[in-house]
Symmetry: C2
Subunit: 251 residues, 2 copies
């Protein structure tokens, strides 16, 4: 056990940490380079639209009055409540939406388009998650162990004994097939569905949404069912919740 | 291996799945019960404010014109760009914000208050995460293994050999101390800091934010540094990114 007398953090840990820090900085630099100009353009356009609106209605409209209204509108929007006339029926806390919220919290995805408003809801959310995260992990582990036998050990053995392929090659081919299967089943297929069903989503946006969901990042810039009619949306959210759980267990 | 000839999914798996489904439904019911009335109230107030604004300015303002402006304002807000005059300097893609974004994506927290706007940014985000998530997990595992020796095995052994406490009691006491330590270091201490530094956050909201972050849910309803002066915010975001990474590795 001579290693214990060595320095507490050997140099290879610092190397690892340093590389990771560099990786973070590199990502940051690319994001700044790609996104900052886009953002500046959008900000300019928005400022212009606001100024134009004030100019157009200057006979009766006061700048501070508009500011107060916009403050309220944006504050409500941060809780998922829209001030627009055409989407006023979009409830966040009906049954299917609440189920979708519960599923997205338990998989740690947390899109954030629906958030608890009240103190009670926040406290419940904390304790529900404290209980639910270990339960989700436990269930995922149980199902995964079962699935691993069915989907991994058995097919490799089958290829080996019935087709006479060497264990190494069988395992390699099987891993590649599984990778493509997961990609197809959890990314491409749902992306195609969203692309077809969501108004105004491009294929890239659909793939991006599936990826951000499957990795449980859950940015919430794209959330399915926001542009569709109300009845479809409910069905969607429940299926979406199930898919989220399935994706989590599939990892 | 008689178990393999059994039914593919024994009844205990169905029991497990059923209990989990019930747990989801229970959570859903509580969220609906607690949040739906709150939401209805907020929605009513917002609708009243909008109608009042239109009434007050009816001499020059048209309802469709206001709707178009609000559409633009809310669309920009979903990309993290505010139409309010008093927060116009709040850039999402300067260096510190982009670093905070990269850290929150790599820990799968994804608050969603900052999101890539361009197609290029989305594509980069996918590939960056594909590379970065395994790297983060690898680094976390390496550091954790190292830390486990220092923080777990050694103190228990020390208690056992120097204080003469039985191994079982030493392990139990140590686990309790570690649990309290994590709670204090990663939830209570940061919550106290946010409570003191963030304008308008209650203590409950601070605890809620730390918990939602630490569990990598990342709802994004509370994000530090939004109400503080610009220079403070930059420092914050960088420290916040580091804390997020630290919290991820601590799990």
């Amino acid at each position: 056990m001579g290693g214990l007398h060595q320095h507490i953090w050997p140099w290879r840990y610092w190397l690892l940490l340093g590389s990771y820090g560099l990786f973070l900085l590199l990502g940051t630099a690319v994001f700044v380079g790609v996104e900052a100009p886009q953002e500046a353009g959008l900000r300019e356009a928005l400022r212009g639209a606001r100024a134009g609106f004030v100019r157009q209605h200057q006979s009766c409209l006061s700048e501070p009055g508009l500011e107060r209204l916009l403050e309220r509108v944006l504050d409500a929007d941060s809780y998922g409540i829209s001030a627009l006339g055409n989407v006023s029926d979009d409830e966040n806390w009906d049954f299917s939406s609440a189920l979708f919220f519960a599923a997205s919290v338990l998989t740690t995805t947390g899109y954030g388009h629906t958030v608890p408003l009240s103190d009670g809801g926040k406290v419940f959310c904390i304790f529900y998650t404290l209980l639910g995260l270990p339960a989700t992990l436990l269930l995922a582990t149980c199902l995964l162990q079962r699935l691993m036998g069915l989907l991994s050990h058995r097919p490799v053995q089958y290829l080996h004994t019935h087709w006479g392929i060497s264990s190494g090659h069988a395992a390699l081919g099987h891993a590649a097939a599984m990778g493509l299967g997961v990609l197809g089943l959890f990314i491409l297929l749902p992306a195609l569905c969203f692309w077809a069903l969501e108004n105004g989503w491009t294929f890239l946006e659909s793939v991006y949404f599936c990826f951000i969901s499957l990795s449980t990042i859950g940015l919430g810039d794209y959330v399915p069912g926001r542009g569709s009619p109300s009845s479809l949306r409910h069905l969607y959210k429940i299926i979406g919740g199930a898919v989220l759980q399935g994706a989590e267990w599939g990892q």
